[in-house]
């Protein structure tokens, strides 16, 4: 928000002068109003650690994060390039495997991915789309000011409902601040997504039956599932509402079975179909994958995308971009060491206290080592794990996340907090559509770099300005 001189950066000037006229007590009042609005609407997420599954508010910070147009344009171009390349990679891996045959990426690395699913190799997908929806996590390097890609989420990225609800609450709570800017809208996301879902219907027609498949009410993202189904006007179904007969998917209605054409599934591959993947899954639909292979139903996102999310594969994404598109990557990766490679592993073991170590196939911030803040026992434990199962880990330097101003209720003033950014990209096979901004997650504790909601992170509204100020 501030330049080294202490002046607010140009695109923050107006917000800053407006907030400066508010009493801390008044601002605090507005924050409480925003919280109440989330509570009454039941915009919560479920914490699993508790036996009864407590519903918690996702903390919301009222100070918007502002991104000037020119900065955003570059991000947008970089994301579009990346999504198209990831899609081409998945087409290739589950198709001719050109990139493996010519050794641009080691065959063993790809085939050993936990989420590589032979079961869907060779399946022809409508319009060849694997990645309909991508949530690409970015951080802004506070040293260089560049946006850097932290990870790709092309399985079932979540959080977009908060982008839309945060904007709604923001405009209600601080209407004056909002009116002084020209902020690009975000509320077209559900319509754009619905358009994509509609064109995938295997039988064509202008009234396909589209359903969003949720694990159910106890899933931490259930609010989002029901919100999106409602916004798109499609059915919200659980696995038990669906049945597959002769490779066709039906839903159970009060007047018998009705055929389903397109499923936006928010259940991971492993739980999707007990006949193909985990046999103990009660969330999925027996026979669903066969119906998908028979092209009687379209699934969004495609099955098997996890191979592109693998953090070892991530290290090769800049290479894919050159390989498939013949272009230089617009957004860079974080430098990554693959522990699978003995010389890189040696480096990692030696420099462990300065590095972040991540398991390759996890998401949601689970199983990560933050070297600089870890005690000796934890470091030793991780050395052990790295030696035992090097393929399962990558290491990265600690990226100095940029900070943006947030309201610190205890101090009664604004204070800098570390943030990341997850924009949501939609791909229809021709064009990538990106909602301006995305979900800004905040590490609410001072100095903390952990933004995951499961670890006490919050979020804030993200404004992309129509201009630069």
């Amino acid at each position: 928000m501030f330049m080294p001189s202490g002046e607010p950066r140009p695109h923050y000037r107006r917000v800053f002068s407006r907030l400066a006229t508010m009493e801390p007590s008044e601002f605090d009042e507005r924050c409480k109003l925003a919280d109440l609005s989330f509570l009454l609407q039941g915009i919560t997420f479920t914490v699993y650690s508790d036996a009864r599954g407590v519903e918690r508010l996702f903390p919301f910070d009222l100070v918007p994060r502002i991104i000037p147009r020119s900065e955003w344009d570059r991000v947008e171009r970089g994301l579009a390039q990346r999504v198209v390349a990831l899609n081409l990679f998945l087409q290739d891996v589950y198709g001719p495997q050109r990139i493996l045959r010519d050794g641009t990426i080691p065959r063993s690395l790809v085939l050993s991915c936990k989420h590589f699913h032979r079961e869907v190799a060779g399946v022809e997908l409508p319009r060849g789309i694997h990645v309909h929806i991508a949530g690409i996590d970015l951080v802004r390097d506070s040293k260089s000011g560049d946006y850097v890609v932290l990870e790709d989420n092309v399985r079932t990225p979540s959080g977009v409902s908060y982008v839309l609800e945060n904007r709604l609450v923001m405009t209600r709570t601080l209407p004056l601040v909002f009116q002084q800017h020209e902020v690009l809208p975000v509320d077209h996301y559900p319509i754009e997504l619905l358009q994509i879902l509609r064109v995938l219907a295997p039988r064509g027609g202008d009234r396909p039956t589209i359903a969003l498949l949720t694990p159910g009410i106890h899933n931490s993202a259930f609010f989002e599932h029901s919100f999106l189904a409602q916004q798109m006007g499609i059915e919200l179904v659980e696995g038990r509402d669906l049945v597959v007969d002769a490779d066709v998917v039906y839903m159970k209605t009060i007047h018998g079975l009705r055929r389903v054409d397109v499923i936006y599934r928010r259940i991971d591959d492993d739980f999707l179909d007990p006949l193909t993947f985990r046999p103990d899954s009660l969330l999925g639909v027996p026979g669903l994958v066969n119906a998908y292979r028979a092209r009687n139903v379209a699934l969004v996102n495609a099955v098997g995308n996890g191979v592109a999310d693998d953090k070892a594969v991530y290290a090769y994404v800049p290479k894919f971009i050159k390989y498939y598109l013949g272009e230089e990557p617009i957004l860079r990766n974080v430098e990554t060491w693959l522990c699978d490679d003995p010389s890189q592993l040696a480096y990692v073991l030696e420099h462990l206290p300065e590095l972040v170590v991540k398991p390759v196939a996890e998401s949601g911030g689970y199983g990560i080592l933050m070297g600089p803040s870890a005690d000796r026992a934890t470091l030793d434990q991780f050395r052990e794990r790295l030696r035992d199962d090097p393929r399962n880990y990558i290491a990265q330097p600690v990226v100095p996340l940029s900070r943006v101003p947030c309201w610190a209720p205890d101090a009664g003033c604004l204070a800098g907090r570390h943030v990341d950014l997850r924009p949501y990209c939609l791909y229809d096979g021709d064009r990538v559509t990106i909602v301006p901004g995305g979900l800004t997650r905040v590490a609410l504790r001072e100095g903390s770099m952990v933004v995951n909601s499961s670890q006490g992170g919050g979020s804030k509204d993200t404004w992309v300005l129509a201009g630069d100020e």
């Binding site: 509570l39 039941g42 609010f223 009060i254 018998g256």
Partner: protein
């Protein structure tokens, strides 16, 4: 409409009705019983527990049905699946699962009531008596019913809502009549007038006291109270009226013309409704009121099961 959604709507309506009826019964009878003269607790309070049908669970928890225990059990208890707080929590859980199918207003009213009950200080409530608590519940249920009527499309989902409410209400009124009649008239020596204010309480439990006054212009006669509660064609809480609404809802769902049936649930409903339309209160007394009311409750349970089998869990045939 998905079977699971129809089932959730049906149960939201049932739970809301159950919570509201329980609040009404508790509110009215609690204060009347406090004034009761000299009889031991068990005689005075036990009927309230019996009405809710959770008699065994109650005595597993409490030795005596004293006012505080009855209030706690009917109002808050986790050990009573039909306590008001549990009903509202269940209604909300069902609503949360089908949030995309109900209006934002409906969700917000139900959620607000749930949060209000969650915040209620049980001990403070228990010591100040149930009136404020019951008023809060009745108001919350009324707000929910109001926004539902104002915002819910009149489609099949609406029929499941009204059917769920009607079947719950019919069963509850039948139980109130049965238990109160039994306990108020039992052991009265011949020629002794029944206690007038207890019968007022019965009427008030189903919000029919003023209506009774307007209809009969007389002192309160137990047989007429029973007649109003069971057979009245216009009072919205009478058994007859509720079964009539249930029949309309079922016909609207299946498309069966009047005077016909397309499934067992409709056949049983029609048979029950005909009896209520053409019987006189004297006929019910001749057969035995207890027998008749037990029969109504049993038939309502059977209809509920048949609705589930017809619409929620039908055999899958592709």
């Amino acid at each position: 409409m998905l079977s699971r959604i129809a089932e959730s709507l049906f149960w939201i309506a049932r739970y809301m009705e159950r919570a509201e009826d329980t609040a009404r019964i508790l509110d009215v009878n609690y204060y009347m019983l406090l004034e009761g003269a000299g009889q031991p607790y068990r005689v005075r309070w036990e009927p309230l527990v019996i009405i809710t049908g959770q008699h065994e669970r109650f005595f597993a928890q409490y030795a005596e049905p004293d006012p505080r225990a009855v209030f706690e059990f009917l109002g808050f208890s986790e050990h009573n699946p039909d306590s008001i707080v549990e009903c509202i929590a269940n209604a909300r859980e069902n609503a949360r699962a089908i949030r995309d199918r109900i209006s934002r207003d409906m969700w917000e009213e139900l959620n607000a009531l749930y949060l209000e009950l969650r915040r209620a200080q049980v001990d403070a409530m228990l010591s100040s008596g149930p009136h404020d608590f019951c008023t809060m519940v009745k108001a919350g249920c009324a707000r929910f019913a109001g926004v539902t009527a104002a915002t819910f499309p009149r489609d099949e989902g609406w029929q499941f809502l009204t059917g769920g409410q009607a079947i719950e209400r019919a069963g509850m009124t039948a139980r109130i009549v049965d238990v109160q009649y039994h306990s108020l008239l039992e052991g009265l020596p011949a020629g002794v007038e029944p206690d007038n204010h207890q019968w007022m309480a019965v009427l008030k439990s189903v919000a029919a006291y003023e209506f009774y006054r307007r209809t009969f212009h007389s002192r309160i006669d137990p047989q007429r109270v029973a007649e109003l509660l069971i057979l009245h064609p216009q009072h919205p809480r009478s058994v007859r009226f509720s079964i009539g609404r249930l029949q309309q809802a079922l016909h609207a769902i299946s498309g069966a013309p009047p005077e016909t049936y397309r499934n067992e649930a409709e056949r049983l409903t029609g048979r029950l409704y005909d009896g209520l339309k053409y019987d006189r209160i004297e006929d019910l007394f001749a057969r035995g009121l207890h027998t008749c009311m037990t029969d109504v409750q049993r038939t309502c349970r059977a209809i509920g099961d048949l609705i589930a089998r017809t619409y929620f869990y039908q055999e899958v045939t592709a």
